[in-house]
């Protein structure tokens, strides 16, 4: 076979993957950026280019700033609590005890089930009149009366956000815990023996030995969670639709709502979201000195 052909051979093996990524993942980004500078009518009919009008209108939407701030809070709280709880859970499931295999299987259920279904279960369980969480809270005396404002958790923006964050954390825990667990399994046992000989208590050896060695696992798990939580859609959409008003909307929900009325402006919101994700990821990577980790 001629040398030139041999050098092109890898392209042949990779071309189906490149084509699929190009057409379905990269091209929509181009279409999205293009749409964000167009005026688009109700049926997706392009009226024409309108410069930066979509962006201008978007930044002057009355709810824009509050939606962005809420998105930041949503991402930070959900990811931070998820990682903290997962550190504990992973430590627990790393111990040896009878039935460990089964408990690990129970943990994967929210990961394997569709997030939409989990969100619907909680929407039902929080029903102000008959939802099972309210029934339990009524039995232990927290909820005084069915159907009251107090029992209508999803009707009040603050309590609705709190419950939805709890659901988001619940469905993020399995992957995060498993990622940290696989990090724990990669730490050789003699590291602990050395720490023990040096007289470190278990808490001290956790902070001094385990956590630093877990850093790569925690980094990746956090990064993947940030991306997922930022884009998370089914939980808020199923439980409150972002309402009342936009008071429980994050930027993804807001964008999807905009899409119903003004596709061009929704596209500009998407582009903005997209840049925001890239910025979050870059800031996160630079503050955690990611390069050093990868180079090691």
């Amino acid at each position: 076979m001629p040398a030139a052909l041999r050098r092109l051979a890898p392209l042949l093996w990779l071309s189906p993957a490149l084509a699929l990524i190009g057409v379905v993942v990269l091209w929509p980004v181009v279409v999205m950026v293009q749409s964000s500078f167009q005026q688009i009518g109700g049926e997706g009919f392009v009226v024409g280019y309108n410069g930066t009008t979509n962006y201008h209108n978007l930044f002057h939407e009355p709810d824009f700033v509050s939606v962005l701030l809420r998105t930041v809070v949503w991402v930070v709280v959900v990811v931070a609590v998820t990682v903290l709880l997962s550190l504990g859970l992973a430590q627990l499931l790393h111990q040896k005890f009878p039935g460990r295999r089964l408990t690990r299987w129970a943990l994967i259920i929210p990961w394997a089930a569709s997030v939409m279904m989990t969100a619907l279960i909680f929407k039902w369980a929080l029903d102000p009149n008959v939802g099972v969480i309210n029934v339990i809270l009524h039995h232990i005396g927290v909820v005084k009366q069915y159907g009251s404002n107090q029992a209508d958790w999803l009707g009040n923006p603050t309590s609705a956000l709190a419950w939805m964050m709890a659901v988001a954390i619940f469905v993020s825990l399995p992957f995060t815990t498993y990622a940290i667990l696989s990090g724990l399994q990669g730490i050789p046992g003699d590291v602990y023996e050395a720490a023990q000989i040096d007289g470190a208590t278990s808490w001290r050896s956790y902070l001094g030995v385990t956590l630093p060695l877990l850093r790569p696992a925690i980094l990746v798990a956090t990064l993947i969670n940030v991306i997922n939580v930022f884009n998370s859609f089914p939980i808020i959409w199923e439980m409150t639709r972002g309402g009342p008003g936009y008071e429980t909307s994050t930027s993804t929900i807001y964008m999807i709502d905009l899409k119903q009325s003004d596709v061009g402006q929704a596209a500009s919101m998407s582009v903005f979201n997209f840049l925001l994700v890239i910025v979050i990821v870059l800031v996160y990577l630079s503050t955690t000195r990611w390069k050093e980790q990868v180079d090691q």
Partner: protein, 292 residues
């Protein structure tokens, strides 16, 4: 390179052959805490079962468990076109899985075996697509695919395949790279030929990775909601994938919770069982490339 995670089974078996010691109290405290957490993770899905078995006339009762139990939600489920939705979801999930395998296998094999120019760039591109979520580019996807004019099921097959390609390429590259080239060469010397070496030696050895990629793609496509909701808008319920069709039980004024959760169980239980098979290898595939 990427290694699959293995819990240390050696210690367990050693403990079994040695004279059995009484488990210390600490072990039982840990075990009980773990069981409680396991139950917490299980409860929401048990509630789904309780609701599916609750008679409709007890939906308005504020009780944890129903007074009577009924299977009628499961038997009447099929008259609402749910069978069609299951078929649509199966087509989408199976179609996406087949495409991912056909596309990812050659790409991963080539990336693992040959050091060509652009290899790192390709693997980085694939890793970057893992950071791209359909939700972030929904407007672009919707406009592009409405221009294509493909039937929704076909569009969803292609979209799900593309967004799950990264996981498959990474885990398969790791598996192929872990199989020594010498094994293939030896097989070729023995007269198997290149194709024979590939199908008789390499692919069987990479089978755990292939099965993981296959099941993971299937589950992700089966559970996908947002793109399905967007692209199957206006379809007859039986033509919509299961995740979208389940939402048809939510009416303007009332929700058919019994049927909704019965359908939810049908949609959820099979994938939980499938997931248990690949559970150990999924993490290494998702975090691969990031921690090398």
């Amino acid at each position: 390179m990427i290694t699959t995670t293995k819990p240390a089974p050696r210690l367990d078996t050693a403990g079994r052959t040695a004279p059995r010691k009484r488990r210390p109290l600490r072990t039982w405290v840990i075990a009980v805490a773990a069981y409680v957490i396991a139950v917490i993770f299980l409860l929401p899905y048990l509630e789904m079962l309780v609701m599916a078995l609750r008679p409709n006339n007890e939906l308005g009762l504020a009780t944890i468990l129903p007074k009577h139990w009924t299977f009628s939600n499961f038997t009447t489920l099929w008259s609402s076109g749910l069978g069609g939705s299951i078929g649509t979801s199966l087509e989408i999930a199976a179609g996406a899985t087949v495409i991912v395998l056909l596309v990812a296998l050659p790409a991963a094999y080539c990336s693992a075996r040959r050091r060509f120019r652009g290899r790192v760039a390709f693997l980085l591109l694939v890793l970057a697509t893992q950071m791209f979520q359909p939700a972030a580019m929904l407007v672009g996807i919707q406009r592009e695919f409405s221009d294509f004019g493909l039937p929704p099921t076909l569009s969803l097959i292609v979209v799900n395949a593309a967004f799950n390609l990264a996981f498959a390429v990474w885990i398969l590259t790791a598996f192929f790279a872990s199989i020594p080239v010498e094994l293939e060469e030896a097989a070729m010397v023995d007269g198997l030929g290149r194709v024979g070496a590939l199908t008789r030696i390499t692919l069987p050895l990479a089978a755990p990775g292939i099965v993981t990629a296959l099941i993971f793609t299937f589950i992700a496509a089966w559970n996908e909601f947002l793109v399905a909701l967007t692209l199957s808008l206006g379809q007859a319920p039986s033509q919509q994938p299961l995740t979208v069709a389940i939402n048809n039980y939510i009416g303007e004024y009332s929700v058919d919770w019994g049927h909704l959760f019965a359908a939810g169980l049908v949609a959820t239980v099979p994938v939980i069982i499938l997931f248990a098979f690949i559970e150990r290898r999924v993490v290494s595939g998702l975090t691969a490339g990031a921690v090398k």
